[in-house]
């Protein structure tokens, strides 16, 4: 019980989170669609053409935010996994489970858009450079975590084992982030950093940031939707609220 009178831990219970998530999903989804639309418009029509790369560079408005999200989501998943292990909290494991597929999707999207950008710019779909390799390892890690969870029947063990694997894999995230600085790679260094002024046109940065916020909102919406599925799946016969009927499951998906 905090001094403000709001019990923040209320929503750590699945039965309180389930309806809250249901109410929040449409908002997050709508904001995500709006922001991505604006971001793509600014990226494709407002931002100037790059001097050296021509119009091919415009894929970065998807590529860079997707790559950021792939790392963010991994860290967030690992934090939830760590909280779950430390406090023995079931909903945190469910959160980690709900985040993993979205993270894997963004990792794949980053690799895919990267190779679409690499073909016209570097002349190759794929090069074995440090940034690309470590991002590929991240994709393997997401897949490994999802596979490990699905191959353990005992839910408690599945939660905890995949949490350990997620925490072990965190070591890769700083490697991805610093790979362009530590190794002399083909992949260019960071164009946008918090500490220094960006090295690109203002409208480009704006488009990228709008896209990133849009991706965040998308991740919230999808993760919460998946969270609802996980809750329904795990509490086959919930004693609270309405029973998990088939239309409800379909709606949650």
């Amino acid at each position: 019980m905090s001094a403000t009178g709001i019990n923040w831990f209320k929503y750590s219970s699945p039965q309180a989170l389930y309806p809250l998530a249901g109410r929040m999903i449409p908002w997050f989804a709508a904001v995500a669609v709006g922001l991505v639309a604006v971001g793509l418009y600014v990226g494709f029509f407002v931002a100037p053409t790059d001097v050296t790369q021509g119009d091919a560079y415009r894929i970065i408005f998807v590529h860079v935010p997707a790559a950021w999200m792939s790392m963010f989501l991994y860290v967030i998943m690992a934090i939830w996994a760590g909280i779950g292990l430390g406090l023995n909290a079931r909903p945190s494991f469910m959160m980690a489970q709900a985040i993993a597929p979205t993270g894997a999707m963004f990792t794949f999207l980053a690799l895919f858009t990267g190779s679409m950008w690499g073909k016209p710019t570097w002349g190759a779909w794929w090069v074995w450079d440090a940034r690309l390799t470590s991002e590929l390892i991240l994709l393997f890690q997401y897949i490994g975590i999802i596979l490990l969870r699905s191959s353990i029947d005992d839910l408690r063990r599945a939660d905890r084992a995949s949490a350990v694997l997620a925490l072990v894999g965190v070591i890769n995230v700083p490697i991805i982030y610093f790979s362009v600085r530590w190794w002399n790679t083909l992949h260019q260094g960071a164009s946008v950093t918090i500490t220094a002024a960006p090295t690109m046109a203002g409208s480009m940065v704006t488009a990228m940031l709008i896209m990133m916020v849009g991706f965040w909102m998308y991740s919230f919406a999808v993760t919460l939707a998946r969270m609802r599925c996980v809750i329904v799946e795990r509490e086959r016969q919930p004693s609270w609220g309405k029973p998990a009927s088939i239309p409800d499951v379909a709606e949650a998906r």
């Binding site: 292990l85 890690q141 350990v164």
Partner: protein
């Protein structure tokens, strides 16, 4: 009855595992012959041009060592898990992570060390000579313990699961990649005459990092598996 000290417990674990391995000598021989046979397949498949063989040598031998480690991971905890020894091990008052170090060490002596000792011979098969042979052996000596350390986490996580052999490969191989890159990089750098110190230092760093964290993670994973 006085409690055995930490080093006594550690020595006991290592002694027991090595003794068991000595009683099943064919297990050890199998991983050695696996490495020899797989390494011999490449010259037959790729063709015997010395220049080609020399360039692929480091990668092939490292991948072979990696696979040998992976295939022997099943032996690390499974037998103990099946006959109940592992549950007893968890009850030992000494910290489990230290006992895990003992088990991993004996696993390395059984599966990694033979590969290291054999590597100069296999290197000769691929036309490596002089300096790069030494670098190959040194890189394997630094790298294979790391492989066993990381592999132990995967082996503990998948303990007793159906299809655990394939699953452990999927979990562990991505984590092996940095070791593979630095290990094979050391040899190819020495072949190119750039000097292999940087890669060897990074291999050493990987080893220390895994020595610090992997036994702890393995201990947690073992407790989860046996809950």
């Amino acid at each position: 009855m006085s409690q055995p000290s930490l080093s006594e417990a550690l020595r006991g674990v290592v002694r027991r595992d090595l003794l068991l391995a000595m009683r099943h000598r064919s297990d050890v021989a199998m991983s050695v012959f696996f490495v020899v046979i797989v390494a011999s397949l490449f010259p037959l498949g790729v063709g015997p041009e010395p220049a080609v063989l020399r360039t692929i040598a480091s990668g092939v031998l490292w991948v072979t060592a990696l696979l040998a480690c992976l295939l022997s991971l099943g032996r690390l905890f499974t037998a103990d898990y099946l006959d109940g020894v592992l549950e007893q091990t968890l009850l030992i008052p000494q910290p489990l992570a230290v006992l895990v170090v003992g088990k991993v060490f004996s696993h390395w002596v059984i599966s990694g060390l033979p590969v290291v000792l054999l590597s100069p011979l296999l290197g000769l098969q691929f036309g490596l000579g002089g300096d790069s042979l030494g670098v190959l052996t040194l890189s394997l000596l630094l790298g294979t313990p790391t492989l066993s350390m990381i592999g132990a986490i995967g082996a503990a996580l998948t303990l007793g699961l159906r299809g655990s052999g394939l699953l452990v490969a999927l979990l562990v191989l991505p984590l092996f990649i940095p070791v593979l890159i630095f290990g094979a990089g050391a040899v190819s750098n020495s072949l190119a005459g750039i000097g292999s110190e940087a890669s060897l230092s990074l291999l050493g760093a990987c080893f220390l990092l895994s020595l610090a964290f992997a036994p702890w993670a393995t201990a947690v994973a073992l407790r989860i598996a046996l809950e």
